[in-house]
Subunit: 463 residues, 2 copies
Amino acid sequence: MKNESLFLSGAKEILSPDSLLTEPEECAPFASDWTRLPGNPSAVVLPKTTAQVASILKLCQNLKIPVVPSGGRTGLCGGAVASKGEVVVNLSRMTQLTPVNVASRTVRVQAGAVTQSVHEHCAKAGLLWPIDLAAKGSSEIGGNLSTNAGGVRVIRYGMSRRWVVGLQAVTMNGEILELNEAVEKNNTGYDLVQLIIGSEGTLAVITEATLKLVPIPKNVSVLFFSVDDLPSLLKLFEIARKGPFEVLAFEFFSAKCLQAVEEKLHRRSRLSRGAEYYVLMEIEEQGRVDDWLSQLLESTIVQDGLLAHSSQEQRDVWALREGITESIALTGPVRKYDVSLPVTRMLSFLGEVLESIRNLRIELFLFGHFGDGSPHLNLVKPANASLEDYEKDCDRFEEKLFHLLKENGGSISAEHGVGILRKNWLTFSRSKTELALYHAIKKAFDPDGLLNPGKVLGQRSPG
Amino acid sequence: MKNESLFLSGAKEILSPDSLLTEPEECAPFASDWTRLPGNPSAVVLPKTTAQVASILKLCQNLKIPVVPSGGRTGLCGGAVASKGEVVVNLSRMTQLTPVNVASRTVRVQAGAVTQSVHEHCAKAGLLWPIDLAAKGSSEIGGNLSTNAGGVRVIRYGMSRRWVVGLQAVTMNGEILELNEAVEKNNTGYDLVQLIIGSEGTLAVITEATLKLVPIPKNVSVLFFSVDDLPSLLKLFEIARKGPFEVLAFEFFSAKCLQAVEEKLHRRSRLSRGAEYYVLMEIEEQGRVDDWLSQLLESTIVQDGLLAHSSQEQRDVWALREGITESIALTGPVRKYDVSLPVTRMLSFLGEVLESIRNLRIELFLFGHFGDGSPHLNLVKPANASLEDYEKDCDRFEEKLFHLLKENGGSISAEHGVGILRKNWLTFSRSKTELALYHAIKKAFDPDGLLNPGKVLGQRSPG
């Protein structure tokens, strides 16, 4: 590290000794994220206060030392990976939560608070921060907001950015931005809260947030269906939108996904008749769902269906959906694409995906958030194909996929973000003008390019 | 106008003759907004397509002619006023609406569509764009989004920015930004949609938007209460948050406001017992509201209360709240402040406001969106005070007010925006660092400062 001794002596003045790690084996757990991309930070700091974050960033700015901010490190694109000797500023020790304000339905939390702990804290007041994602046991609020996390209830509540009132964030030069605090209405200039949310730690380090909460949904049920084909799946979705309930989640997966979960994880579907696709629908009941379901089962739209009332039954159905990623990992090498497109174009898009993959040496595992227009495409190596042939065919498919997305007004990353892994694909989802604006915005916040360098954007403006 | 003949010959190539106005009396209706600040545009163009908007902006960029974008011109801060010979680009002729997409709950609209017409269009599909404001009969979607409009249902749904999926906007150099189109999930870089929303036409001209819709609320009722003091008002709000319903609106006004509405507009409250403050509560029933109300009326929190079930009764209660602005205007000269603060600080803040105004030559009319922490302070000249004394006391009060807001983490503009009128107050709600970032962002979008010049920001960076 450049200026190492100056950094260490400065950091020791700012932090208590247990907040500064320099030994490689101490630093290792903070080097990477769920991508397991290799990292080798020069040091890891674990500040306990916003003032410490500000002082550390200012020190690094003065010494021109690059910084990687991180939280629970559950990211899937390498946004929190420190691969070039950066200093990691990890927020996991800033975990304070204020009491929930029931009248304004808000809670102030520090960035290191684990998502699930925020859920549990708010549940005592009958309220919910409505972002529900698989990583919630480890992911932290700062990371949720930096990546604008989605999850399984986006169809009902939208992404993380909708559930933030105010933000405290620190810029690379150590300025503490106190944005809106707890004020829900503040029409005085450009919305820096929303600009920082989803910027993957490249503009500022989020240290605190005032989160907006909703009442915990009541009368939640889970429905589970088998359907023969994609048009039936869309039809089911359209009918569900008019049902006597609010749809909280509308998840789909292919027969191949269910088969993998059954084989690898020994979980079982309780439907008596299988089919090509399955739908998990979580709903908040507002009327006679039984009647609605009977009518549906008499139609030709679904092959079979069940209503899981008890929480055990509901967990069992969810366990099928939640086991997919793990069971695919146990199947073979995999490439993952988390894409999105208008839900109206899902049919033709998925039809083209299936068509273009047909003669390739790839097994497609198709699942995801159908109701959000956000499918996950997992390409697994068939047992009888060589790794080389599989990789070659993946590359051919990838090119086709990105062009298909562009044609359909879609995105190469629905939820997971850009990080390191997807920054070279950005031109498929963003125009030259957008990218030039990104670079100008980045420069306004971080003129020396020291904050999370090499993430989201390439090194230079495309302009 | 600089380069007038070049502009006119260029504009004539881009627009049909009826889309280019140059005579002062033709231009006059497009010169100003509800502030009635004087305007004198050099020309007004009324494009019918996004391509025309882009060509006109590019022409003006090339000729260095400043542009003021506008829509329904219902703004209250002068954001759409062309006071310095600018060219007005008015979007009111771009009014197309696509059919509502019921499955994705979205609709694509052009910027000139009137808010109310969007409501009516979506209502046919049982859906609602949930921004409901007094100006909805004239305001246009482009203006709603440029100012991040609020309204009476913010407590339930939040501000305009929450209900936008994608945006089409044109930069000053004529680039068409197609941001997200109809994709609800697109985590690929900084959120330019949210950055442009609320920027009051200073970054780009919004031409189209994909709006997110909600089901029209069912079983809507209106409750009306009188309460003795501000602590009771807060208590009522807290209790309402736990009632068997969702609160759609929680509006309050002082006895002085009701008195003005009764005297000037001859409307009548149907409550038998008056008090110091009144509360209009609109709710979506989810249980036994009658029981809840009986219990409340037996407490000491409210003096009196009624439940308006029929739509006529509901309209009558709303007419009291909606008549306040008009009846104040009929009372005398008025200065208006649309401020916000955390709802938890409303009591102490309003207490200090009342205390500090007590010995001043000002009549305070207090009303607004209590549940959002967003009161409207209207300072009216007392009949027995001179205009000079009143103005002097208003200035004294204003200084106190802004400092109070700053101490309470509040904002000098909750909903109405900054425009021309409030740009000199911005430092009370935004730090130097925030303002420096605003200037840098402005420069990235509009380096020559030609788009809505003199709005929101002063001429120079405070850095």
